[in-house]
Structure formats: structure tokens, C-alpha cells
């Protein structure tokens, strides 16, 4: 009886420890993340926005570009849930279509900045010396620019358009990532496994790609999640200042900007798209915060 029970307990312990070993990095992160209600809420909201962006043509109750001057400044009601703007366009439909632009603006520049930052950061950290000095000096300069002003200068030069926002935000954003990756590379490059790889003659770029980069993933994941809301806010600010997306695009920042003239007569035109910005940015920040907590043991390594 006792023996059998002992055996069973042993088996359970072994199975449990097996499970612990089998758990991959992603499973571990996901398990910690699942306990974080804020992060889960953030994730669900992001998913909803993504679905909204993909299925915009089917969800939007009206044509977002259809001008109808007889229908100006309709109050929010049954026909137009969030009212209509100065051209009689349906605000809700424009917000739904605007989610495409906002998600694109959130993702594309963040991916570009991450890629540039990763490459320059690893190269600077791995090769050190002059390479490091040059890259880090430039990144220091970029970092000492107030980012919005630098983006504004780029937009002045390139002209206001959506594509140029991608470029402006990428020029502004890479330096932060480069610093994080460089610091991580510095701490990794003298570890035994890198030295071992170097000793058997593995080429530098393979060491960087196979041995150093995978160890930066936790940091990069958090950085990426927090970079996205930053890009969305920057685009909104640039569009609000008139140097971002141009009409008739239904960018949320541009919608707020257009609505500000009629703030006191038709507040919904400016207020509603702002709520959309707030919600998506908040969702990404919640998720990023949760990820940071979930990855804490990896980040402190």
C-alpha cells in the first residue's frame, strides 16, 4: 500500500519535473502572461482592433469617404452611431477604416527601427573599438534630438505623406534599440559559449546571428511591444500638427485635427477618434507591461 503510494508520488514528481524541463521559452512566457489580467485584456483588445482593420469593409456601416453635405454634423444616433463630420461622413466608419492606418503605422516603423537597431547594436557591441565608437556616437546624437522635432524635420524635408511617416519614425527610433542590443551583446560576447564558438572558428556573423541574437529576444520582445504604441502616438501627433497623413486618409490623428475646428459645436468629430487612439495605445502598453513582468527572470540574466 505504502510502497504503491510512494511509487505513484515518485512518478508524479518525475512527470512534473519532466514537464518543467519540456516547457519552452514561449510556453513559460505564455503561462506567466495568462495570470496577468491587464495583459490579457490588452491582448484581446489588440486582437479586436486587428480583426476590425482586416474586416473594415464588411463592418463599417457607411462609406468612410462618401461626402454628403446635407448630412453635416449629425449628432450621434441610431443612423450614425458616432455622428457625422463636417463633410457628412460617418465618424464610426472612418474610425474603423482608420484602424488599418494606425496598425500599419504601429507595426511597420517599429519593425524597421528594430531591424536597424538590432544590426547596428550587435555590430557595435561585437566588434567594439572604432565601429562601436562611430555607431554609438551617431546614436547618441539621434537620441539627444527631441524625437518629435526630429520627425518634424524629416517630414519637412520629405513632404507630408503616410509613407514618409514610416521613414521619419524609423530615422528617429533605431537608436534606442541599438543601445539595448549593444549592451546585451557586450555582456554576452565574453560568455563561454560565444568563446567556444569563436575558438572552433565560427564566423563572426554566424556567432552574432545564432548565438547572440537569440539571447536578446526577451529584451527585444518587450521593446517591440512598447515601440508600437509609441509609433502610433507619434503618427497621431504628426498628423495632428499637419505634417503627417494627408486628407482624405482617415488617420485617427488627422481626424482629431480636422475635428478641432468644430470642437464646441460638434465635439464627437474630434473626441471619438481620440478615444480609439487612447484605447489601442493603452492596450499595447498593458501587454508590454505584462510581457516585461513575465520575462523578468530572462531580462535579469
Amino acid at each position: 500500500m505504502n510502497l504503491a503510494r510512494n511509487l505513484m508520488l515518485k512518478k508524479e514528481v518525475i512527470e512534473a519535473s519532466d514537464e518543467l524541463v519540456k516547457e519552452t521559452f514561449w510556453q513559460d512566457v505564455f503561462r506567466s502572461l495568462k495570470k496577468d489580467r491587464m495583459a490579457i485584456t490588452g491582448g484581446i483588445v489588440i486582437l479586436l482592433f486587428v480583426l476590425m482593420a482586416i474586416f473594415a469593409p464588411w463592418i463599417a456601416p457607411h462609406d468612410p469617404y462618401e461626402v454628403n453635405l446635407d448630412n453635416q454634423f449629425q449628432k450621434p444616433g441610431l443612423e450614425h452611431w458616432l455622428g457625422t463630420d463636417m463633410f457628412g461622413r460617418d465618424v464610426l466608419s472612418r474610425i474603423i477604416y482608420g484602424s488599418q492606418i494606425s496598425l500599419l503605422i504601429g507595426l511597420v516603423p517599429s519593425m524597421i527601427t528594430m531591424s536597424i537597431g538590432i544590426v547596428l547594436g550587435i555590430v557595435a557591441g561585437y566588434f567594439g573599438r572604432r565601429t562601436d565608437f562611430v555607431i554609438m556616437t551617431i546614436s547618441d546624437m539621434v537620441l539627444s534630438f527631441p524625437s518629435l522635432l526630429l520627425a518634424m524635420v524629416v517630414m519637412y524635408t520629405l513632404g507630408a505623406s503616410l509613407l514618409n511617416i514610416f521613414i521619419a519614425l524609423s530615422i528617429v527610433g533605431w537608436a534606442g534599440t541599438a543601445r539595448v542590443v549593444r549592451a546585451q551583446t557586450l555582456s554576452l560576447k565574453n560568455k563561454e559559449f560565444v568563446e567556444a564558438a569563436r575558438a572552433v572558428g565560427v564566423k563572426p556573423y554566424i556567432i552574432m546571428l545564432r548565438h547572440i541574437l537569440p539571447n536578446c529576444i526577451p529584451q527585444l520582445l518587450v521593446l517591440f511591444t512598447l515601440e508600437i504604441p509609441g509609433s502610433i502616438l507619434s503618427e497621431a501627433s504628426l498628423s495632428f500638427l499637419g505634417v503627417g497623413a494627408q486628407p482624405p486618409a482617415s488617420s485617427w490623428g488627422l481626424m482629431v485635427s480636422n475635428g478641432k475646428e468644430f470642437l464646441f459645436n460638434a465635439p464627437w468629430v474630434a473626441i471619438a477618434p481620440g478615444i480609439a487612439i487612447l484605447v489601442i495605445v493603452l492596450a499595447f502598453n498593458f501587454l508590454g507591461d505584462g510581457l516585461r513582468d513575465a520575462l523578468d527572470p530572462y531580462l535579469k540574466q
Binding site: P146, L148, L149, M152, L233, S237, L263, I271, L278, L282
Partner: protein, 306 residues
Amino acid sequence: MGAYIVKRLLISIPVIFGISLITFIMLNVIPGDPIALMMKEHISTDVVERVRAQMHLDDPAYVRFFRFVWDALHGDFGTSYKLNRSVTTLLLDAFPNTLALAMSGALVSWIIGIPAGVLSAVKKRSFLDNSIMGFSLLGVSIPVFWAGLLFQYIFSMVLGILPVSGFSGPEYLIMPAIVLGWSSAGTIARLTRSSLLEVMRNDYIRTARAKGNLEIKVILNHALKNSMLPVVTVMALQVAGLLSGAVITESVFGIPGIGRIAVNAIQSRDMPLLQGAVMFTTVLVILGNLVADILYSLIDPRIKYD
């Protein structure tokens, strides 16, 4: 200490030089004749020639760059294309307004942020803590321009207690300062909380408690002082951030500051004015960072520099 300050100052020089180079390149590569911008109607070619020569527009780019640096070192940022006034004068006229806005924004963020962070740390993991931390994320996530419009709608339109925009008295600063300070208040609250929590684990805090001090006394007299170190550094850094964050706030509330000058310069394609505004703000930010570093070493004598 003195040597450290000198060293830091010396390091800023190449950074400032590099920044002027980047700004100059970006603003001068675009095609487009500034003369055409200044004088819209038909003008005789010899007038154009004369103005071009006057503005040295036909010199090679590197000559123009070094002239720009040389003049800037003498406090001369050139003449605005559109307003035909000295950029330096325009900037210096606008600077006090931006400074007033940034300072009051900073004040708001400290008044809200520090007590909120302390409360949050003291009542760790409570409902209060969670709501304060939630609010701080909200502060970071809120688009500043939208918050400005929302405030205008509530306080000027619905309640009618504050002026909508403009700048002709201290009451015009209230809304912009709150809008500007709100987002950094969240950052300060988070930092105060984590720093205080870390300090609270120290032995001398346990000693202070063991002596029978009231908890509030332990926190205020023993813990808070030491936990303010990182917060103070961020405060100085943040003033720099506020100076540039003022761009949007100034546009929303119609405050004639540096940020508005920059936005207007972009819209009227006034290159020297934009260049001056960007350089001016960036140098201020670099100096702000320098002050932060020096402040840090003054507050914490344990930090040694070599």
C-alpha cells in the same frame, strides 16, 4: 567634481556639432528655391541674383554649413524667410513662454506624481496601488493633443471657467500645464514607487521601525529622502522632454512659444526659422541632460567619476 563637469561639457561639443550637421543636411538637401518662397510675384532676375548673393545661396554646401556654425556660435541663426526678422530675436522672444509652460508642466507632474508614487508604495498591491498604476499608464497612453481638446471642451465650453487658448495671463497656463504635466506625472509616480519599495528593504529602515517610530515618520524621514535619487535625475531629464513636448501643447492652446514657431515654420517652409528652433531646443535638451548628471553627483556623494 570640477574636472567631471568640464569633461562632460567638452563631450557635448562634438554632439552639438554633429546635431547641427544632421539638421543642416536634412534641411538643405531639399530642392526648392527659398527666393521663390520669399517673393511670390514676378521679380526681375537681377533682384533674384542680388538676394541670392546676399544670402550666399550659391556657395557650396560645406561653406554654407561652416558659415551657419560660425554665425550660430555668435548667436546669429540667420533671417526668417517669411517674417524677414532675425531668427535669434524671434526665438528669444518666444523662449520665456515655452519655459513658463515647461516649468509649470514639470511642477504639475511632481505635485501629482511624487505623492501618488509614495501612496502606491505604502499601500503596495492594494486597490489604491492598482488604480494609481493604472492611471499612470493612462497618462502615458493619452494623446497629448487630444487631452488638450478634451480639457478645452470640458473646462472652457461646458464649465466655462478657463480661457480656451491664447496667452495673456497666468490663468492661460493652467490647462496647458496640466495637460503637459499629466503624462510625465505617471512616469514620476512609477519611478517613485519602485525606488521607494527598493529603499524600504534596507536594514536602516528596519532599525528605524525597531526604534518604535511611526510608519509615516519612517517613510518620510528615512526612506523618501534616499528614494528620491533616481527621481531627481529623471526630473531634470524630464524638463528637457517637456521643452519638446511643449510643441503640441503650444499648438493646441495657441501659446506663442518655440514649438509653435517650429510648427509654423514647417507650414510656411521657412527653413532658417525651423533650423534655429530645432537647434535651440536640442541644445537646451543636451544642457538639461548635463544638469541632470551633475545634479546626480551632487546629491549622491557615493557616486565617483573619473
